[in-house]
Point group: C2
DNA sequence: GTCTATAGGAAGATAGAC
DNA sequence: GTCTATCTTCCTATAGAC
């Protein structure tokens, strides 16, 4: 067995956070023991508590870093072309492709969420995520409205809550059932429903104002 | 310490399943150890493996019994009065009231679901639930269509998947955020969307015309 | 057939060596 | 300041007593 080189605690922290994420993806929360994480990081288990005061603290930090990454890619996918349905649909799909590309990431998010409901230490980053997602989606909706010259005829936070719920629910269905086709159909249907709530307000041509209603 | 009375294995099984459910509700999956369950059932831990071959087996049986109970109450709430939106809304609310009344039950369902994604033994009852819910919802939709004399202008399985996703997602949001108001608003919005997919095909009796739509 | 003492292992954490 | 041998605890499961 090789002799352990002396490594600063801050470096070890980074290595452990990295290793923890890999273990979480591969083994889930149940498998993310301090021993497994240290093994993945190539260091003895005892080193763990030199960097983190507890397993809980590490999980909390992992959650704080990883949970917010989820939506960022999807919220940049707003495009101008096509119908309103297309625009909404493409935005939803941008998120969905993240789910299909990395289902494990979302699986871990659910595991962390479930754990956070029992463990006060984890609840802060989790609550932040569940408060942040609807807010981010609401921002996207506002952006779409701005770009397309429409208003939503439903309270935007309610619309956002609905969308987040559908995405979360479909993700869960997909993780359990593994049928991406069903999810994509539901996603299109959702896009149609959402687009159905858009009302034109910006003048395109005077003649259209009356027809738009 | 009291002497243990001799009890048949089948009776102990029932007691353990009962106790397991209570422990699951109170402590979650993580706290549902064989020891905790036996303590709750008032029997020594060693008795456990006389009735179940493993902790996994007990959890599987609990899941098989408990998961299907969830929707049954909600699917009996179809009423005829009011608009189509009202009918759909009341049906969704019937389910939602179960969530608000017993959030812990749904929390445990998510925990079992998350565990099942890692543990093949638990996947059977869980998959059954995730396949069964959309089917049950689809049946309710067919029933509503029949009662109201409409057809859905979207594939019923897709509509059902959407509804189940919204309910699952809102439940998760509610468990994390604890805001029933937000969920109820989103539920009403969902009911409006669903009702928007109903197309009248049968002429309703004159007396009902005023009340309908 | 019913029950229990005990094995056997893995977890998180720490005291103290270098 | 960096690292590791060891402690305590709590788990599931079994071998064998009644």
């Amino acid at each position: 067995m090789a002799v352990m080189p002396r490594i600063s605690a801050v470096d070890r922290r980074a290595q452990l956070l990295d290793a923890a994420w890999r273990v979480l993806l591969a083994e889930g929360i149940g498998g993310a023991t301090t021993r497994a994480i240290c093994a993945e990081a190539g260091m003895p288990q005892g080193a763990f508590h030199y960097c983190f005061s507890s397993r809980d603290q590490l999980l909390t930090e992992v959650a704080a870093v990883m949970l917010p990454r989820e939506l960022s890619a999807a919220t940049q996918a707003i495009s101008r072309g096509g119908t309103l349905v297309d625009t909404v649909h493409r935005t939803l799909l941008a998120y969905w492709e993240l789910v299909e590309a990395e289902p494990r990431v979302h699986q871990v998010i659910y595991e962390i969420t479930a754990l956070a409901l029992r463990d006060p230490a984890l609840s802060t980053p989790t609550r932040a995520r569940y408060a942040g997602d609807p807010t981010a989606v609401a921002a996207v909706l506002e952006q779409i409205a701005e770009v397309r010259g429409i208003v939503w005829d439903r309270q935007v936070p309610v619309l956002a809550a609905q969308i987040v719920a559908v995405l979360d629910g479909l993700t869960l269905q997909y993780l359990v059932g593994g049928d991406p086709g069903a999810a994509r159909e539901a996603l299109l249907a959702c896009a149609q429903d959402v687009a159905g709530r858009g009302r034109r307000v910006r003048r395109v041509a005077p003649a259209l104002v009356g027809a738009a209603r």
